[in-house]
């Protein structure tokens, strides 16, 4: 019960943050794909930075064990195809699963239709799962992380990702400062 309360609190905060960032607005999200609006990239990069540094330093300071975090397994081809389908849906509707909830909560009808499509898609995959299961489980790579892929230590990877993310964020800030 306590876990549910905490999860509910985090969910509300997450939704608030998304709405404050303006991610409930489909044209704003679609603008990212046309490189007109960099809000999505800014939100994603800053979220990744915060989480990565929090996970690394929280673990280093003994607050929790990052080794216990669940890292989903990689299935290269099916996830590549899934990513393509997801991206297509993202740019067509201007919403992703999380932001469709936010859009619905702030009263946008696009949010409701996107969520309807989302659940229809999940149901379809669930019903046809026996047929697509061989593909679903093809090209398995286990739980692949950047550091395992690059053969670097966790700390080195954190530094590398930080430099890349901060540089991109600085570049976006500079670009947006231009009239």
């Amino acid at each position: 019960m306590n876990d549910l309360l905490i999860a509910g609190g985090i969910g509300v905060a997450f939704g608030c943050a998304l709405e404050c960032a303006g991610l409930g607005d489909p044209p704003k999200l679609a603008g990212q794909f046309y490189l007109r609006d960099f809000t999505v990239l800014k939100v994603m990069l800053s979220a990744m930075l915060t989480t990565m540094l929090g996970a690394f330093w929280g673990g280093r300071l003994g607050m929790f064990d990052p080794g216990a975090f669940y890292v989903p397994d990689t299935y290269l081809l099916p996830q590549l195809l899934g990513g393509l389908v997801f991206g297509l849906g993202f740019v067509l509707s201007g919403l992703c699963p999380g932001t469709s909830c936010v859009a619905l909560a702030s009263g946008r009808i696009e949010g409701a239709t996107t969520m309807l499509g989302l659940f229809a898609g999940v149901l379809l995959v669930g019903l046809t799962f026996p047929a697509i299961e061989p593909f679903y489980r093809s090209t398995p790579y286990g739980s692949l992380t950047l550091q395992r892929l690059a053969g670097l230590s966790y700390g080195d990877m954190v530094a590398l990702v930080t430099v890349v993310a901060v540089s991109v964020l600085a570049w976006i800030a500079k670009r947006e400062a231009r009239p």
Binding site: L49, L53, A55, W57, G59, G62, G67, D73, S153, V158
Partner: protein
């Protein structure tokens, strides 16, 4: 703008110190905590009976994850309901969430016990195994021998569990039933071990 810049600089600082901070994992050692293993074996917290597992599955115990460590071919042939197949060689690559109760089983228990030690060495402490494996599952859950001296309530309980998983209890040999009932299950003699 000033605040954002400060945030960016501190993120950069935290990121750049990270390579010199060492590893954040607590279970990095991958060593065996022999004391805690010995304690778990002594106290019997390293295993559960097939019947206990059956009750957990029936009661939909939250966080229960039943893992079959046999080969995929054996798994397809016959398995405990709700189990997932993670062959021994895949075990080290798998991820286990801390809140889960992991129950390992194999054909007769030896491999599951070894898998339990493997998981321990990976820092997974919330795992248990079924000592008798699938053989116990058949003998204690699917086709249990009803003891002659059991109370009616006890017998009903065993029967209900057996029926739940689609089996049927055998009548105890003491009651004059045929001794050949073991052959009826389609299984030869089995090695008792572990």
């Amino acid at each position: 703008m000033k605040f954002v810049r400060r945030l960016g600089i501190s993120a950069l600082a935290f990121g750049l110190i990270a390579p010199f901070a060492g590893a954040p994992f607590r279970t990095q050692r991958r060593g065996l905590d022999l004391d805690s293993i010995a304690r778990a074996i002594d106290e019997g917290t390293d295993h559960v009976s097939a019947r206990q597992l059956a009750e957990w599955i029936r009661d939909r115990r939250p966080g229960l994850r039943v893992i079959d460590v046999r080969s995929p071919a054996e798994f397809r042939n016959d398995a405990v309901p709700t189990a997932e197949n993670v062959p021994i060689d895949q075990l080290a690559k798998s991820q286990f969430a801390p809140g889960q109760t992991i129950v390992l089983y194999s054909q007769e228990g030896a491999h599951a016990g070894q898998a339990w030690v493997m998981l321990r060495s990976l820092g997974v402490t919330q795992a248990v195994f079924v000592p008798g494996g699938l053989a116990d599952w058949r003998e204690e859950v699917l086709y249990p021998l009803l003891p002659a001296n059991a109370s009616p309530a006890e017998r009903a309980q065993i029967e209900a569990l057996s029926h739940y998983f689609g089996g049927s209890p055998r009548i105890g040999a003491e009651q004059g039933s045929d001794v050949a009932s073991a052959a009826q299950i389609g299984r030869g003699s089995r090695r008792r071990g572990c």
